[in-house]
Symmetry: C2
Subunit: 333 residues, 2 copies
């Protein structure tokens, strides 16, 4: 089934005030399309939505066992986290375990995403460090992999560093196309982000959801990553976040991951499907409602969160309900 675009509406009173459009694909591990909306052969930048794929080389390396790491570290390696204390402290302790420190992170420093964490820093008179970067867990995974293979850690974000080469090799295997041929831009955290046809990105997610066609080592890594995303959902994102709520509510059923500029990916192991979606305008608010609608369409939206995820309320400054977001009737509304 191929149909029109993904459409998410934003209402205010009786008016549809704003409207977001995008593309989405639900795909099997062999690349066959279960359902799609829009031109899903368009190459998009997955940004952080493919972090679970990027975590594969880390888990496959045996670093988890070697350094006594656990689900919280694997989940962090897939995370775009809030920079809350548990995220930051776990990253710092992890880097120490592998003989490194925050100074080795090449992701740069930005204030924590959660306003309360920014305010904590201000009260302490402290400045954020690289561990607060929402990508610090993924970068810790990259560094740990380099250490495991005895590679230089400096420059691990560069396109030709072995760490990045391995990411492309995994991506090629999971999505069925040579990722070395993909155009690329530079992500917020400095690594290459590969222009991937949306359908192939969904196929890569499907290959992690149902890894039966992968090598046994790779399949084991995929199973381990999915389990960690469900077991440690706070590490994936943080307080109040969509990924944390959904992954925590659907153990064994769904593992979803947000990315910048309106991308969202998901693995559905009980169905054997992968999902990828991109909102053209890059709006995270719309990508979340679109992911909720796709989960609902497939019958795996967490009970008890359906209304809030599908129709997030819009309140004004004094807390009055003034509108909502919703999938358009022309799509899955």
């Amino acid at each position: 089934m191929t149909a029109g675009s993904v459409v998410i509406e934003v209402t205010r009173g009786p008016v549809v005030e704003s409207r977001h459009e995008g593309i989405a694909a639900i795909v099997r591990p062999d690349g066959s399309v279960v359902a799609s909306w829009g031109d899903v052969d368009t190459a998009i930048l997955p940004r952080s939505a493919n972090k679970p794929i990027q975590a594969m080389a880390f888990v496959e390396s045996g670093a988890v066992e070697r350094f006594g790491l656990g689900d919280e570290h694997i989940s962090l390696s897939c995370a775009s986290h809030n920079g809350e204390p548990r995220h930051v402290e776990t990253v710092r302790a992890w880097l120490k375990k592998v003989g490194l420190s925050e100074a080795d992170l090449e992701c740069g420093t930005h204030p924590p995403r959660l306003q309360a964490s920014i305010e904590d820093l201000v009260r302490e008179g402290a400045l954020p460090t690289a561990a607060f970067n929402n990508c610090s867990g993924k970068h810790s995974g990259f560094l740990t992999t380099a250490v495991t293979y005895g590679e230089p850690t400096a420059g691990y974000i560069k396109y030709d560093h072995p760490v990045q080469r391995r990411l492309r090799a995994v991506m090629s295997d999971l999505c069925g196309v040579d990722a070395d041929g993909f155009a690329h831009g530079t992500d917020g955290c400095g690594i290459p982000t590969l222009a991937t046809p949306l359908r192939r990105l969904a196929q890569a997610m499907a290959s992690m959801a149902d890894p039966s066609r992968l090598s046994s080592k790779r399949a084991e890594a995929a199973n381990r990553i999915r389990a960690a995303m469900n077991a440690e959902p706070f590490m994936m994102a943080g307080s109040g976040r969509f990924c944390t709520r959904v992954n925590g509510a659907l153990p064994g059923v769904a593992q979803v991951k947000t990315g910048a500029e309106g991308v969202f990916c998901g693995m559905l192991p009980t169905l054997g499907y992968g999902i990828a979606l991109k909102m053209w305008d890059g709006a995270a608010r719309a990508a979340e409602v679109a992911m909720a609608a796709l989960l609902g369409h497939l019958g795996v939206l967490p009970a008890g969160q359906q209304e809030e995820l599908l129709h997030p309320p819009i309140r004004n400054v004094v807390g009055l309900l003034v509108g909502e977001m919703r999938p358009a009737k022309s799509w899955l509304g």
Copy 2:
């Protein structure tokens, strides 16, 4: 001239990563269209982009003279400000002059928009108050008008309060259609926001840019407001903001005002035109580039700011230039 949509692109490396679409109209005071893109008869919610229109009743009331107010207060009455110290202190002093206080503001309280101002509050251990609300200047104008006319101030945000009735009467006069017939939602600050055909919103702006067909009292108010927006551009918005930069750079030539959900309006007195635009997805980043492109199209983009306003750079966490925003070639690129 009517053509396709407004299109703003967001690039990352060689890839167009995201894309924003919208509608725009450049109109004369009689409602005739100079140029338009998309269906400009669509009714949109102007949100804060029509604050200069909403300031008309305040200035017409004679309150400025009666209470010894000046350009800074008029500019604040048109503002979506950052909640920086000068904004907050001026609002507090103003309300005192008219015998009121922050307790009379019905806009609600939110943290200041500027992160540095939030951090100042945290350091002081203080909480934001209603004066920090980006709309506190507009609401001070509403309250002052009610006091001037001897009306009850409580409930001034309600659809049937004389303050709101007067706003609709001014809007009807400026845009040439009875605004009492417009559907409405509730704005962030609690007042009604009227679903206005985009072309009519641009016409209202044109009527303020060239007020020759208005009553002399109303024309004088429009001239006074435009002058104040140029003379006190900081009060309109604040540090680093588009409205502050453009209005400060183009005295007598342009007065622009942003609104939530991707709306932007402008007055061009030397040309006698009004501008209104709406990005469908509600993105402020795209509305700014679109306004810059329209000003450039009309030859009134401030020299020295052209590159930065038309092609805002996108930098990653470490400050590397990784992309830019730009008007699409299919539009005004």
